[in-house]
Amino acid sequence: MTAVIEAQGLGKQYGRRWALSDCTLDIPAGRVVGLVGPNGAGKTTLLHLTVGLLAPTSGSIEVLGGRPAANPAQLAKVGFVAQDSPTYAGLRVADHLKLGARLNPGWDAALARDRIERLGLDPARRAGQLSGGQRAQLALTLGIAKRPELLILDEPVAALDPLARREFLQGLMEATAEHELSVVLSSHLVSDLERACDYLIVLVDSRVRVAGEVEELLATHHRLSGPRRDPARLPAGQHVVAASHTDRQTTLIVRTDAPIHDPAWTVSRLSLEDLVLAYMGKSTHTDHNGRNHRPTLEVQR
């Protein structure tokens, strides 16, 4: 299967600070990828590297087999909806569509017109007068109507009310189904992503903590609770992601491919949010350079 994003040791440094470090990804096509992480983790940096708004400081990244923003053909393959859905406040909705038509050879004018009509956006309205949800939908239309293979969205619903949020995601998923897009969607809330994503990347403190198909991650991660136990004494093959203890009880989040036979443990399923929180959890071993003494796990293929 062709990879839609391939990154090797990708890093971006600003002055002395590494906004993204040592990022290695291999994302297959046809997925809706959720990129989760707290604010400042490096999500926007990673997405900007993917669309070519930034150049890497170290490592490399290839999108759909080409260098990001290398030439018009490459730019046509990737659609981008940036944070806060920027639009030209002084230009009307119709002007934005004209912008898309003039600057993109692959522009689908009928699709754009239909979408605007169905959304109920007035073409004569200036973008500065639209609500947040309407601007997000306009930006999404611009991204979809150029008929890309990959659509990248940076926290598209963060500033939207719940109804606008739901409508945006519905529109996005519909377009994904109709045009067979690959999508990368970032958010600092897992709840936005749970329904839509089938591939997950967790980014914390400029590093990728986990990346893989959601189904596989949920199948291989379990919550174990039982009597107080030292996590280091678990059998090999069971990697501890997070641990918490009381006097009498230990609760572990582990990742393992094999079944768990120890009868002392109560095994339960994790929700996606639990999983993400486990990887995002407080790490007392992380120093300021982001060096983490917890295992960084990747999907085994």
Partner: protein, 338 residues
């Protein structure tokens, strides 16, 4: 991209067009009358009355003269400030660069079209303004004895150099905007740098574009600039070269052996009680005596015949600077700029 550039530039272009149209209308209405007044006045004035006519004519029109000259002087700076600096900073501040640089054109092409179209508009505006003012003001320029044609004020605001200044100011604005990334600081820095360069050019570069002419002239009443006799009977005197449009770079009185002096030392034939320099005699015999004693004025100047060569040289310099800045912009826009 051409459509988008125009669409974003529309309002600014309209304002400039309106302002230029207003200026052109005023100049067109008053220009012919001005030229007529001048030509009839010159034809009618007698030998000695001409200097009076020239003085009166200039004083009558000094206000508008300075006003239109100021317009041409300030126009390039305004272009740099309002067309150049916000070109990129506006997109960065609104975040729309994330939208437009993701369309199917490269950043290089985006910048190229924007620079080319807006740059041409800038040069056209400056050119029209300069052309109109040069035409309208030519009678007054001939009577502006304190503002020689080669001097900094008129040289900067006539002919073709305003076009080059406008292109340069525009390119400077865009470059500063790209480096600073915020509109107001970019505008301030652009203005500061542009003003500094506009002061540095006549101060440091223009005097040396061609070796200046140095000549030693006799001081007579026709080229006398200033004559003062102090209480100690020392005479301070200076003269201007015959070429009234020349740009005098330095001027000092020299004695018979060629040494520069501040003032002519007192001597019996040059005292108020002498036959030559008695106050009621007029200056002519006194100056003749000064000349007889060997005093001359040594002037270093750029003659007005070099007006057009200098205009082309300076246009060339500013064009090179503009192209250099444009190159810097193209190089820079392909790097990190998010």
């Amino acid at each position: 991209m051409i459509w988008l550039t125009w669409r974003q530039f529309r309002a600014a272009a309209a304002m400039m067009a309106a302002a230029l149209a207003a200026l052109a209308a005023i100049l067109a209405l008053t220009g012919p009358g001005l030229a007529h007044d001048y030509s009839t006045g010159i034809a009618a004035c007698t030998q000695s009355g001409c200097s009076d006519f020239v003085r009166h004519f200039f004083n009558d029109h000094q206000g508008p003269f300075l006003a239109v000259t100021a317009v041409v002087l300030v126009l390039p700076a305004l272009i740099g400030l309002f067309w150049g600096a916000p070109l990129i900073t506006r997109e960065l501040e609104a975040g729309t660069h994330q939208l437009v640089w993701n369309q199917s054109i490269t950043r290089t092409r985006w910048l190229a079209v924007k620079l080319a179209l807006t740059g041409v508009a800038a040069m056209t505006a400056a050119g029209l303004g300069s052309l109109a003012v040069t035409w309208w003001s030519s009678p007054i320029d001939k009577t502006a004895t304190n503002f020689p044609k080669m001097g900094p004020l008129l040289f900067d605001t006539r002919g073709i150099v305003p076009i080059a200044y406008a292109a340069f100011a525009f390119a400077l604005g865009v470059t500063v905007g790209m480096l600073v990334r915020r509109t107001l600081p970019a505008m301030a820095i652009t203005l500061a740098v542009f003003v500094a360069i506009q002061i540095a050019m006549p101060l440091l570069v223009r005097p040396h574009l061609l070796p200046p002419t140095r000549s030693t002239i006799e001081i007579t009443t026709s080229n006398l600039d200033d004559f003062t006799m102090g209480p100690d009977h020392r005479i301070r005197v200076s003269a201007k070269p015959a070429d009234t449009g020349a740009w005098v770079l330095s001027s000092h009185t020299v004695d018979a052996s060629g040494h520069a002096i501040d003032s002519i030392p007192p001597s019996p034939s040059l005292s108020p009680s002498s036959r030559a320099c008695a106050p009621q005699q007029g200056l002519s015999p006194c100056l003749a005596e000064v000349t007889r004693l060997g005093y001359r004025q040594q002037v270093t100047y750029q003659p007005s015949s070099r007006f057009w060569p200098f205009q082309w040289y300076e246009t060339g310099i500013y064009t090179a600077l503009t192209l250099g800045l444009a190159g810097l912009c193209f190089w820079r826009i392909r790097r990190r700029l998010s």
